[in-house]
Amino acid sequence: MSAHHVVPLKTFLKVFWALIGLTALTVVTAKGMDLHPFNGVVAFSIASVKGFLVMAFFMHLKYDDKANRYIIISSFFFVFLLFIFVVLDLGTRIPQASTL
């Protein structure tokens, strides 16, 4: 039964320490060194890796049915759509009061 896949405890502990390590890394990169203007990108990338680990292992997606993966990916995709189209507007607002 794939659904009742029992993951060995060791995996969870490894993932946990990886998460703690990444938390430390994100603090160090943001506070210790100034990577301006990439601060945001670095912090966000580390957070994405952490999120990936949580979803893959803690939320069992790695062992789960494919459908659930698509479901959760679709949610990020639609957040992305919201973001990209709002940015499309804000980013291309030609100063309205000037001549185009």
């Binding site: 459908a67 679709s74 949610s75 639609f78 759509l81 919201l82 189209f85 709002v86 499309l88 507007d89 804000l90 980013g91 291309t92 607002r93 030609i94 309205q96 185009l100």
Partner: protein, 534 residues
Amino acid sequence: MAGAGSNYLNHEKGIMSWLTSRDHKRIGLLYFYTVGFFFLLGGIFAMLIRTELFSAGMQFTPELYNRFMTYHGVIMVFFVIIPGIPAILGNIIMPLQIGARDVAFPLVNLMSWYCYIAGAALGVASLFMGETVLWGIFGGADTGWTFYTPYSIKFSAANITAAFAAFVAGFSSILTGVNFVATVHKLRCPGMTMNRIPLFVWALYATAILQVLATPVVGITVALLAMENIFGIGFFDPELGGDPVLFQHFFWFYSHPAVYIMILPAMGVISELITAFSKKTIFGYTAIAYSSLAIAGVSFLVWGHHMYVSSQSEIAGLVFSILTMFVGVPTAIKLFNWLATLYKGSIQMQSPMLYALGFLFIFTIGGVTGIFLATIATDVHFHDTYFVVAHFHYVMVGGTLMAIMGGALYWFPKITGKMFNESIARMSFVFIFVGFNVTFFPQFILGAMGMPRRYADYLPAFESLNRISSLGSYVIGFGFIIALYVFINGWRKGAPAPANPWGAKTLEWTVPSPPPHENFDKIPTVTAGPYEYR
């Protein structure tokens, strides 16, 4: 369990057995009563709006008119049309059509009804809050159903409550959506592949995806609006550095897909009606099924067409314009496929079919006028005029309400186990159909002439057309009273209905009318598509 003749209506008795029921059919009926009540309430507000606009000059006061207009919108959108088809007909029919004993999460289904009730209660309560405008008791929000900031940013109990009403009602919609997606994924009976589910189920499935993905966005947006009123958080308040146009983006990210939450299930109903009453297999099953998904997908990318002149950037406007054009294609596909289904059929003009054909007539007008609005240059003129009002009423009322009526009559024998009075039902169609066109067609012309919407008063030049429109609205009202009579009379005095009065082929007609509590004695096994009229 229960003996012969036991069905979902009588297998348990008492009001509590209804209020705590997890049976999808009973929950569907609960929705039917409550949505029906709000439809009447919203209809009364509509009549009041048309009465105000009967002549130039003020019949009521502008404050009162603005509340009529707001509550007509809020009630009809959030409490009638969005839950309308999925929560009533979808709930009752969808599990039967895919050969399931219930929806995936019956308790969640009941919870969604209570969310609806809570939201509706808040909505009604907000009528008595805020600045009073009538008889010292009636107040209410006057922001329009779109809650645009910064107008809606003012500390007003009515605004906050109305926003929360929409928020809570949103949860009802999300829970229904979650339930339906899981049900379609997981509870199809053996042999019921995705290519064999009826088109109504396809439409509901696409709708449910929209409900799950879009509703939380408006939920949090109106919640933030309430916070804006309470704490002045400033997200959408230019005085505190916020951007009111961002509110419109967030709002329409939901509210445009919401338009398809309203119309897609209606399209599903029409697919069922047309095949059943022309006794013919659907033309282009795959095309219709996937066009539902296509519409759902593209609908997330077009919200900016509500904002062409909102000070959105020109480039964004053009991108949204072209994407909006793409929605037109799957819609056209559906329309032509329905027409082709009629070809060489055996068409019976029963009242549900009349509603379906009425839908085709009205929806065609609604559809082509959509192109007027998608074309960015003409939309600059039509935006926020009565042209838009006419267009979306042609789609929402003429489309969705026609489908609700057609579907309700079509499945009436299944739901109640009784037949309705056919000739009176036809009469109701004539009144609703004629009244509808008389009401809303003149509004296209008014819009072209430049009459802005949400006007409590207008220039004398617009009077004659407005008067025709108001008269038409009373005809619609009369038509719905007849329709109400058809339902009540049919339920009380109708002749017992056979299991399959229309000779339709989908699974719900294989069980007795009304269906037993558990739907199927034995879960069926399906070996062919849904519309095998050979």
